[in-house]
Every structure is written in C-alpha cells, then in structure tokens.
C-alpha cells in the first residue's frame, strides 16, 4: 500500500514537471499557432541557469534560505530568452507556411543546445544541495524526499495560478480572444504583437520553471531539452494542442503511464506512450480537450 503511494507520488512528480513544459508549449500553440521545437531547450535553460546559480551561491557560502530563493532564477532566464526570441526570430514567420516555422525553431533548437554546451561545458550540472536541505518525510516504512512533494505542490499551484490568470483576469480574456480570432481581436483594438510576446514569454517561463524545479532532483544535462520536448508533444497530442486543461490531463496520463511502465513494462514504456499519442490522434484528432479544428 505504501509502495503504491510512493508510485503515485512519483507519477505526480513527473506529471507536475511535464505539465509545466507541455502547458507552455500548448499555450504558445493556442495563441500563436506555432509549434516551438526549441521549447524543450527553454526547459533546459531553466535547469542550467538554476543549477549554475545555486551551485555558485553554495560555493560562495550563501545561507541555505538563499539557495531556495534562487530556484526561480532559471524560470526568469528562460522567460527573458523567450521575450527576445519571439519578436526577433518568430514574428517574421507567422504568415509563412508551417514548414518554415518548424524549421526555424529546429534551427533554434540546435543553436540553444550548443550554446548551453558552450557556456556550461559537457558535464552535468546539479543543484543537489537544495534536495538534501529539504530533507525527507516518512511514509510508512519508506523515506520520501520532501523536495519531491514541493515540486508536486508547485505543479498544482502553477496550474491553478495559470487557470485563474487565463479565466479570471482581463489579460486572460484578451489572450483567449486573440487565440480564438486574431484578426477580430486586432480589429477591436487589441495589440496583438504585445499579446504574442506576453504569451510566448509566459510559455517560456513555464518551461523554465519546469527545468528550475527539476534540477535539484536530477542534473541538468545536454540533450535533456530534446528528450523533454518529445514527451511534451505526447502530452499535448493526448490532451489537445492549445488546451491547458488538455495539457493538465495529458501530463497526468503520461505521468502515470510512465510510472506504471517503468515498474511493469520497462522495454516498451516509451513506445507505449508514443502509441497512446498516435491512437488519440486517430480517434480524436483534436485531442481529449481540443477544440476540434485542424
């Protein structure tokens, strides 16, 4: 029973991080109708910046509380990168065919991947100090890292915050209006360019936050972005591109299937995830929560 609880917690932990990455990807697609292949790299930026700053602070003898406060640094860095990328590189592509949008973000993927390599070198970066400082809690006969519980909480909190932001604020109304009909919103006086840059920045912030909270538990390594992107794809395809509820449900499905897969069918765990995505696309092309458009 306790073992099952541990498995459920692990699945939730995984889902929380996946939701942050996939939610950002989905938000960006929902508003701008582009698939950002470099989205996983923004997650990696979050992880690297957080790991690096916590590592530097810990080496400089900073008090423990400061280390915890440094966690969001990665998210802010990813958001800043996003705020620069959208107007400079992506904006020229909105009116061009998807091939080019995919290609320019694929180029971006290669560039960011190597920039991380260039700045932080080939060795993994870790912020394990925070993980240790958080200690552990006792579940029955098991000891479970308290930090993991915090990640789950952050995942749930950010989902709630995002929901409130999009469905309960004026900005959210404008964002949804732009997403539904960009021309009409523009005709009604919405500054679409500004909405785009804000939506893209929020999407990148979420990916960066995902990277920032994951890095105390596991190291920041090269290639983590590419790997995360594919899983985020699976999540948004299951949930429906452009839908936050979908990203939430999709992240839970992928999290639990993956946890079950690691325990029960490790060889085909990844294949099963991709197959679930393919089957969902076949049965419900718009995903479980999609709006039924292509």
């Amino acid at each position: 029973m306790e073992l099952l609880l541990i498995h459920v917690l692990n699945a939730l932990l995984y889902s929380a991080v996946l939701f942050l990455i996939a939610g950002g990807l989905s938000l960006i697609y929902g508003v701008m109708r582009i698939i950002n292949l470099a989205h996983g790299n923004l997650y990696a930026i979050g992880a690297y910046v957080t790991a690096w700053s916590i590592g530097a602070a810990a080496a400089g003898g900073a008090p423990d509380a400061v280390l915890f406060l440094l966690l969001p640094v990665g998210a802010i860095a990813a958001a800043a990168v996003g705020a620069v990328l959208e107007p400079t590189l992506l904006r020229p592509f909105y009116k061009r065919p998807e091939e080019y949008q995919l290609l320019v973000t694929f180029g971006l993927l290669m560039i960011i991947e190597d920039c991380l390599h260039l700045i932080w070198g080939p060795n993994p970066l870790s912020a394990g100090k925070v993980y240790q400082l958080a200690g552990s809690v006792t579940i029955g006969t098991f000891r479970y890292p308290a930090y993991n519980l915090a990640v789950i909480a952050i995942g749930i909190l950010s989902a709630v915050a995002l929901w409130a932001f999009i469905y309960r604020t004026r900005f959210g109304v404008v964002l949804r209006a732009t997403s539904q009909n960009m021309r009409m919103a523009s005709a009604l006086g919405v500054n679409v360019n500004r909405i785009y840059i804000q939506a893209f920045t929020i999407g990148c912030l979420m990916a960066g936050l995902g990277g920032a909270i994951v890095v105390p538990g596991q190291s920041a390594v090269l290639g983590m972005g590419v790997e995360a992107l594919i899983l985020a794809f699976v999540v948004v395809v299951i949930g429906g591109l452009g839908s936050l509820e979908g990203a939430f449900a999709g992240a839970l499905i992928v999290g639990f299937v993956r946890e079950a897969g690691v325990a029960l069918f490790p060889e085909v765990e990844l294949a099963v995830l991709y197959l679930i995505a393919a089957i969902v696309l076949l049965v419900r092309p718009a995903g479980l929560f999609g709006r039924g458009e292509r």
Partner: protein, 322 residues
C-alpha cells in the same frame, strides 16, 4: 515533356561524368563524403515527393531510413547474409511495410498534425531500437561488415572497396532512383499529387482519391528512404539508434530546404551540400550544431527556396539583357 528532358540532359550529362571520374580525381575522404551525400540524396529525393510534390511535411523520415539500416544489420546478425542485393530487397520490403502501416494512420491528416504524427510514430521505432538492446545492440548499435556486390566478394582493402566499387554501385542505384523519381513526378500520378498539394478540394472534385494517392506517395517516399538506409549501413559500418531519432528526421528536412524543395534536383543538391557542411563543421568545431543551426535560421529567413532558388535568381539576372 521533351523540352524539360533535353534541358535536364544538358546539365545531367556533365554532372554524371563528373560523378563518374570523381573517385579517380579526389582522394578517398572526399569520395566517401560524396558517397554519404549521394545516399542521403536518395532519401531526401523520396522525402521531397511528400514535401515538394504532395505538400506534406514529414518529421519522421528517420523511421524508414533507420528501418532500412537496421534491416541490413539484422539480416547480417540473424541470417549471416552478405549480399548487397538481398540487403536492398529486404530493406525495400521492410520500409514498405512500415510505411504502409504508418502511412495508413498519417495520411488522414495534413499540415502540423501530419508532422507530429509522423514524428510520434518514428519515435516508436527509435524507442524499440533503444530498449530492445539484446536484439538491436541498444545505443552500441549493430556492426555491419562489407557486403558482396553482385556476388563478388568485397576483398580485404575496405577503403579501396568503399571508395571505388561501392561508390560505383551506389552511384548506379542513385541514378536509377533519380530516374524513377523523375518519371514518377512527371507521370499523371505525380501531376495528381501536385494537384492535391495545390488545392485539395478541387483535386477531389476532379475525381482524385486523395487519401489513396497520399498513401501511395507516402509509401514510395518511405521506400526511397529505406533504400538509402540500406546503402548507408555498410558505408557507416554501424547501425545505431541515431538514424532513428527524430532529430535525424529534422536533418532530412534541413537537406530538402537547403537544396530547395520546389525543385526536382534541389533535394539532391541539398543532401550533398549538407553532408559537406556537416562534415566540415564537425571537423572544425565541437559546436557544429550551433553553426548548422545558424545556417538553417539564416536560410529560412533569407533564402527560403534554398540553393536551387538562389541559382535560379542568379541565372535570371545573368539572362536579363542590360
């Protein structure tokens, strides 16, 4: 049809002669790089039947290329086969079967969903190759010895074999593939694909069975990639999951765009150019991805029609009377 055929011959003959004498003029390193380029050329030629002629962007062509390469590796491992012709036949069969299954699912969609679906399905193959290491060797991959060509044993000098006999073998297959593809895109079937690309609704009204045509194009495209994978395997000597992973599909797209996918020979030019670009970038710096990524971004920003598009612009400038 005669006029474009003559025009094509005007540059195809000198180019063919250059390719024929290349191994005797340049060193083995250059020949092998060119060999890689020609092999990728076959794959991208197939890929472009979908992108350039049918208007479908596949982000999963690594699946068929990798299926071709792994078919060769598994034929060596389990059946001790060494004949290149059997390898080619096996790979064509295998990639056709996979393309039929995947294509059946994928051609229901277009645009972004088609891309994601092809990507997701190709990742299924990748994860299987990655996880079933007792069959596929996992990340270590499977070794592929030099095969026999047309029943002749490869001899002991591997470099000599690859740079001469294997080169001409691949060149022959390449020319055959290019001719077959040229016939396909200029056939009524090819015209129908272009009609689908330009206007799906009208094409349907004219009586074209869109989904069936797309599936056939998908399978042909996959078979070309599988054939290229089979030719690539003995040259590389090792089949690893790297040729199945989705970023390799991205490189295939890159090659098509680099050469220009609105043009028949664009993909071939792109494949050869990309191979040289990557070989030299990897040789020069560990940050080759940064270099290639920058090239890609600049390319789509400034030269969306690729090298052939640029060539057309230059040719038009030269032809224009001053």
């Amino acid at each position: 049809m005669a006029a474009p055929a003559l025009k094509i011959l005007a540059w195809a003959v000198p180019l063919g002669l250059a390719l024929l004498i290349a191994p005797h003029v340049v060193g083995p390193f250059q020949t092998l790089t060119l060999l890689y380029g020609l092999i990728f050329g076959i794959a991208v030629l197939g890929f472009n039947l979908l992108l350039g002629y049918t208007g479908l962007l596949s982000f999963g062509h690594s699946a068929y290329f990798g299926a071709g390469a792994y078919t060769v590796a598994l034929m060596v491992k389990y059946f001790k086969i060494a004949s290149m012709e059997l390898f080619l036949a096996g790979s064509v069969l295998m990639s056709a079967v996979i393309a039929i299954v995947f294509g059946f699912v994928c051609v229901r969609y277009t645009r972004i969903f088609f891309g994601i679906l092809t990507l997701a399905l190709s990742q299924v193959l990748w994860s299987l190759a990655f996880k079933f290491f007792w069959v596929t060797g996992g990340t270590d991959g499977l070794r592929i010895p030099t095969p026999s060509l047309l029943g002749m044993s490869p001899g002991t000098d591997k470099m000599e074999f690859l740079a001469f006999r294997y080169y001409y073998y691949v060149l022959a297959v390449f020319v055959l593939c290019a001719i077959v593809m040229w016939v396909i895109v200029h056939s009524p079937f090819g015209k129908a694909l272009q009609a689908i690309r330009d206007n799906e609704t009208r094409a349907e009204f004219v009586g074209i069975r869109i989904r069936r045509y797309r599936l056939i194009a998908f399978v042909i495209s996959g078979v070309f990639a599988g054939l290229a994978g089979a030719l690539w395997a003995p040259l590389n000597g090792l089949a690893t999951p790297d040729v199945l992973v989705w970023t390799f599909s991205g490189e295939i797209v890159f090659m098509a765009v680099l050469g220009g996918f609105h043009n028949f020979i664009g993909p071939i030019v792109g494949a050869v150019a990309f191979t040289y670009l990557k070989t030299y970038a990897v040789g020069l710096t560990v940050y080759w991805q940064l270099a290639l990524g920058t090239v890609l971004v600049v390319l789509v920003l400034a030269l969306p029609k690729g090298i052939m598009g640029l060539a057309e612009i230059v040719a038009a400038r030269l032809r224009r009377p001053r």
